[in-house]
């Protein structure tokens, strides 16, 4: 089967030719969601509205007037995007039961193109975390935990024990979206990326995770974590699909003053065959403490791959990389403290029964509505914003941020086109191990490779590369120049073709499969 056009395009063709109808597709996805409920990838499944959208799509196909490539395609959206009439919780008690009165711009764009919204996916509360384990609806389980590939590599124990304590995390905070795409319950999903929240779970779940350039895609309707770093993220099973999604979503939004004004032209990815004109940079600082030897080897092999194909591969330096975590911590918590100030129980969301005074109502509401992670960040952030601390911390961090961004500018100016780095330090951890450390520690560890791109606003993408010794996905990251998504995705697509990452072998998927979810025979990379 040709990887040329991408699965989504094949589905699209199938819809056009009537080999499958939008309602059939929708129903199959909904059935698969039901049978993979144990993954806890979805917070809300919008069954009724999805079927209705599918029916409308079907009508359009019958008339021979589909809206485009995305018409009838089932998608999922992370639960920090506003969706009209559908609960938007951010996996927090603060917004349990909150029904959005409007659609985020990115959601509206997808719906306008006929996409079928299956539901809202699970995340760390308010997108704070790197495991998708700290939301009020419980942790998301990595579908690969149940894959043949992983089970084969597991130490044999009693079957049921395995299932319960042997599952691995998805990474985060867009774990639900990554799991949803990985387990075939949808063809694409929206995540968000502030410090790696789309790329990290993409790497752990073996899917493509794209973080676009800041300002390319509208944030209107995305409940913010850090306004100056957040971007909507795109999760798909192949790079071509990511390009299609990007084409539908990018462009100026008058409702978001941080989107660029320039016209955006959607592109089709060329099939790159000649990489000899390419210059790939390998930043030495990304050989970070804790990087597993497996991933180090993979990274090195990838560099060789490019070199052997004729590309120029050079070691580069991004000297301020080691300050980025601390810098991120200051700026992130400061913005969090500010962004969360609106959650007071007065206008919407959870309101405490405490009635003694307005202030006591606020305090009780916020204590009850937010988890420890959120409250911790708010307290830190307010500390950094105090008058006596502002210069020392916030302004200092802004300056360091500028230095980090300049590192990239210098490297790209020196002739490097794309940077190649690992996405994560290792493959996915067991849930039982992951929760041994607190959220802050984990985030600090796990964000190290992804977060500088958010500082600098650059586009970056995770491409699933190979399976680890434990049979779990490992991905590599490409970082590109501002607004050069076309180049970034073209290179990523070439790499994807070279590595032929294996398809997940899930029992549940096999049962529902009837040819639409095609299996490819692919040589594994490692």
């Amino acid at each position: 089967a040709a990887l040329k056009q991408g699965l989504r395009s094949q589905v699209s063709a199938a819809l056009k030719e009537g080999r499958v109808t939008p309602t059939e597709l929708c129903q199959r996805c909904l059935a698969l969601i039901r049978s993979t409920k144990f993954l806890n990838a979805y917070i809300t499944v919008a069954e009724e509205t999805a079927l209705k959208q599918a029916e409308e799509s079907e009508e359009r196909y019958k008339r021979g007037q589909p809206l485009g490539i995305l018409d009838g395609i089932p998608i999922a959206v992370k639960d920090n995007f506003n969706t009209t009439g559908i609960e938007t919780t951010c996996a927090s008690n603060m917004l349990k039961g909150y029904i959005s009165p409007y659609n985020a711009t990115v959601v509206q764009k997808l719906l306008d193109r006929g996409a079928v919204l299956l539901g809202k996916t699970n995340l760390d509360e308010f997108a704070m975390g790197s495991g998708s384990t700290d939301g009020v609806f419980g942790p998301v389980r990595n579908p690969w935990s149940y894959s043949k590939q992983y089970k084969e590599k597991c130490v044999p124990e009693s079957h049921s024990e395995n299932e319960e304590s042997n599952w691995v995390i998805t990474g985060g905070s867009s774990g639900g979206s990554a799991a949803a795409v990985s387990s075939f319950t949808c063809f694409a999903a929206l995540g968000s990326d502030t410090g790696g929240s789309t790329r990290n779970p993409a790497a752990h779940c073996g899917v493509v995770g794209l973080k676009p350039t800041y300002g390319l895609i509208s944030r209107h309707g995305l409940i913010p974590l850090v306004n100056s770093m957040d971007v909507p993220g795109i999760l798909t099973r192949c790079v071509d699909d990511a390009a299609v999604l990007l084409g539908s979503l990018a462009g100026h939004d008058p409702k978001d003053s941080t989107t660029i004004q320039d016209d955006f032209k959607p592109f089709e990815l060329p099939n790159l065959t000649d990489v000899s004109k390419l210059s790939i940079g390998i930043p030495k600082e990304y050989h970070a403490p804790g990087l597993s030897s497996e991933i180090l080897t993979l990274w090195s092999k990838a560099a060789d791959l490019f070199r052997n194909a004729g590309a120029k591969v050079v070691e580069v330096s991004l000297p301020h990389t080691r300050y980025s975590i601390v810098c991120y911590h200051v700026l992130c918590t400061a913005e969090v403290a500010s962004n969360m100030a609106r959650f007071d129980g007065l206008e919407y969301g959870h309101r405490s029964d405490m009635k003694d005074s307005t202030e006591s109502m606020y305090a009780a509401t916020r204590r009850e509505g937010f988890n420890d992670v959120v409250r911790g960040r708010i307290l830190s952030g307010n500390y950094f914003l105090l008058k006596q601390n502002y210069e020392k911390y916030f302004v200092k961090a802004q300056k360091v941020r500028r230095l980090i961004a300049n590192d990239f500018v210098k490297v790209f100016r020196s002739g490097v086109d794309i940077l190649l780095t690992p996405t994560t330090l290792s493959d996915a951890a067991l849930y039982t191990e992951f929760i041994q450390e607190d959220n802050r520690t984990r985030s600090a560890q796990d964000d190290v490779l992804t977060q500088a791109a958010n500082m600098a606003g650059l586009p970056a993408i995770n491409v699933p590369t190979a399976l680890s010794e434990r049979g779990l996905p490992v991905g590599l990251q490409f970082i590109g120049r501002s607004f050069q998504e076309k180049q970034l995705l073209t290179v990523a697509k070439w790499f994807e073709k070279q590595v032929q990452f294996p398809v997940i072998q899930l029992e549940e998927v096999k049962r529902h499969d009837s040819g639409v979810f095609q299996h490819q025979k692919s040589a594994s990379f490692s």
């Binding site: 009165p101 309707g221 500010s338 609106r342 007071d344 007065l346 206008e347 008058k387």
Partner: protein, 463 residues
Amino acid sequence: LAPWIPVVGLEIHAQISSNSKLFSGSQVQFAAPPNSLVSFFDASLPGTLPVLNRRCVEAAVMTGLALNCSINKKSLFDRKHYFYADLPAGYQITQQRVPIAVNGRLSYGLCTGNKMSQMVTKTVRIKQIQLEQDSGKSLHDDTRSQTLVDLNRAGVGLMEVVMEPDMCCGEEAAAAVRELQLILQTLGSSQAVMAEGQLRVDANVSVHHPGEPYGVRTEVKNINSIRFLAKAVDYEIQRQIEELENGGTILNETRAFDSKLGCTVPMRDKEGKQDYRFMPEPNLPPLILYDAKSLPANTNHQQVINIDWIHERLPDLPSVKREKLVEQYGILPEHSFTLLNEDGLAEFFESVVKQTQMKPKKVIGWILNDLLSYLKQHSLAVKESPVSSSLLADLLNLLEKKEISSTAAKRVLAELWKGEGKTPLEIVKEQKLELLQDQKELEQICQAVIDGQENEVIMMVLG
């Protein structure tokens, strides 16, 4: 006793006259049903973002230019954090680091001298003008232990005008604010009606001895009219002087003006000083303004603001209008102040002057003494005057042609106030107020009077 020098500065919030709010598209309207003008952004619904209203920026630029400020071609937006029921987002978007306009000045006139007939011009420096959001309104219902919140006003655009402490008393503060009000109304950037909350004034007051540093200042709030502003400031100055002369100290506090008692009282104390944790507003890029020189070629005219273009289109400011009135009509400067002080009075005056042969110098007396005092007595605005400019002009023409005496004219005017639709000529005929020019007729009348009063005449003749 050493003399005291009072020092008064002002922080004025003027609501921008615009169709929609500063960062959202909801409507701006006074006294609408509660919470009927609230967009998702105004209610701080999660995921909403601010979008800057062009008209509000233009209003601030106009105002800055009228107050002789430097307009900052790059200004920034910040978040000012505090928790209050009328502030849905938990922060206000304002301009703390770099406001839109700085370093201006406002000239205003004061009447001095015995009879208040001399005009003196004073100046107050304008520190800055910044754009910021208005808050909603909250009403405390103590009987039911609840607070009612109306967000209609939340997010409406404000211009905060900061006046340096160059004023020394209530009268100066009042005159400065009055002049600012006139300027804003002339520009149309704010309707500046204090009663509708479109103009709010806080006064900063302190006193010190000459040669010594400035004293501790208090902030006085809750001032609802220009008249109360003068009272509040003067009261506070007096209070501080008395306090200090009795060996007390002044606290750096906020006080509210109680208009019923005519005094200032401490406002409920917030524990410690507020730290507003200012932070740049990440969702709004720096506000860039252009002038003719810096305007890049091929820019979309819709997307940019050209300061020079706005400057060219500024209307005549009150001070210019006054000069023109004095020059054109030969009236006194203090007259021009009064004319501009009453909404519509200058237009009324000019209209009368057009329709009458009477010299403007004489017309002004009728306008300021007769017309204005009548209107004041009956609490009428100029536009509500039962006597139109044409009617008054007709009357003055009769006077000018010496068809009636000035005493008679006043009687006719009194009749005209009744608004019964009669013309001055009709009233004159009715009441037989015509001036008699005929000698013979006059003799006949005099004779008739004498004949009718025989006894009195005899007494007079006999001495």
